[in-house]
Assembly symmetry: C2
Homo-oligomer: 234 residues x 2
């Protein structure tokens, strides 16, 4: 059996190296201009089959054009191949608290249940990094959010166990991906570098020194909308 | 007559936003690993016609494979179109001192005459930014290096006058391009973002906030070797 991997997949970055724009908020979960980083993904069959038109009511997707939801025959090709790869052999997820929601500090109430509405697109265990305890949250469709307060290595151990032999996908955001890269725990990093100039925001690369952490660029596939780049540890 | 423009052309950057690698030196003018940023350019007909095999003796090109010099029929296509555009309607150049040579401080002697041997590939007036005065240096083939000690705006005025109605090409390095961008003097910035991960070095984008300086991404053309990106002021 192949070793379980920790993989970052379909992670958008701008040509100037930002994975989220400035001024992240409830209405701009990827920051101002950040939605442009994922346009290649919204046009794929993988995305369009995954979300029905009601998904658009969820705040995380409110900026995506309505016609891109619930299509049986959305775009195939390079972008779709990479989007689909993002869900293959994934048995659990790890995400940072900002990716779960805009709430900061202790969980004042438990009303916030993620950006994705009642039936989130994970359908497996999702481990949310936070400093504040909260009981697990079981949603429709097989997704359970677990709130992990004892750090990134503990989250990786728990996710690996929950994934039952499959890989673990590390969702984001930028600070979370950087922390796992610095700890040398990420096995594969698929970036989609899109023609967007953000100017400021959260820089993925700044000060990380990925080559000195053992990462190499092993694949580059440009498409009409983005450039797919795969980094792996050598 | 169209207004004269200041243009950065065929400027290589890595996927992580560096335009020169770490540890620049006589043997690594683009820093360690930096030559990879220009591989797309070396394979073009434009480059191969411009340089005969003796060019390889010049330190600036010492790391380029010998078979890429002096070819009549080097690569055509997207990369060559952009490489050729880099020499069209160019009447003068501006370069930073690091692009002229590795010498620092006052000109101890005048032995250093650039990276490019006796017949540099400019064939026009080249304005070198420096803090230290030096008499103009006339080379074979029509290139004259002028040493400008009174700043980037003075160099732009002098280059514009010398270009005789044509545009001025801003060569580099990174610090020089950043200074002209911050001053809002660059009209067009053609970057070639190549599949190289440098990890550290001179970052082109860091802290510049190009959108707030008025720059927009106006063109993206991926090729097999690199992704061409054109930024312009709106």
């Amino acid at each position: 059996m192949a070793a379980q991997k920790l993989r970052v997949l379909s992670f958008g970055i701008s040509v100037d190296g930002y994975s989220a724009g400035p001024n992240q908020s409830l209405n701009h979960p990827l920051g101002v201009g950040g939605t442009g980083l994922m346009e290649w993904f919204f046009s794929t069959r993988t995305f369009q089959r995954m979300h029905n038109p009601e998904s658009r009511e969820t705040v995380g997707l409110a900026n995506v054009p309505e016609h891109l939801f619930g299509q049986e025959n959305g775009g195939a090709g390079i972008d779709n191949d990479f989007a689909a790869r993002g869900f293959e052999n994934v048995g659990a997820w790890i995400i940072g608290r900002n990716m779960f929601g805009p709430v900061r500090g202790p969980w004042a109430d438990e009303e916030w249940k993620g950006w994705w509405g009642g039936n989130p697109p994970y359908h497996c265990d999702v481990f949310v990094l936070t400093h504040h305890t909260r009981a697990p949250l079981t949603m429709e469709g097989g997704t359970t959010f677990h709130f992990v307060t004892d750090g990134i290595e503990a989250a990786w151990r728990r996710a690996k166990a929950a994934a039952n032999g499959k890989d673990v996908r590390l969702g984001g955001g930028v600070a979370t991906v950087r922390a796992y890269l610095q700890a040398g725990l990420v096995d594969e990093l698929h970036l989609a570098q899109s023609p967007v100039l953000l100017g400021s925001g959260e820089s993925l690369f700044s000060g990380l020194g990925l080559p000195s952490l053992g990462y190499r660029l092993v694949e580059r596939v440009p498409s009409a909308k983005t450039t797919h780049l795969v980094l792996a540890r050598s």
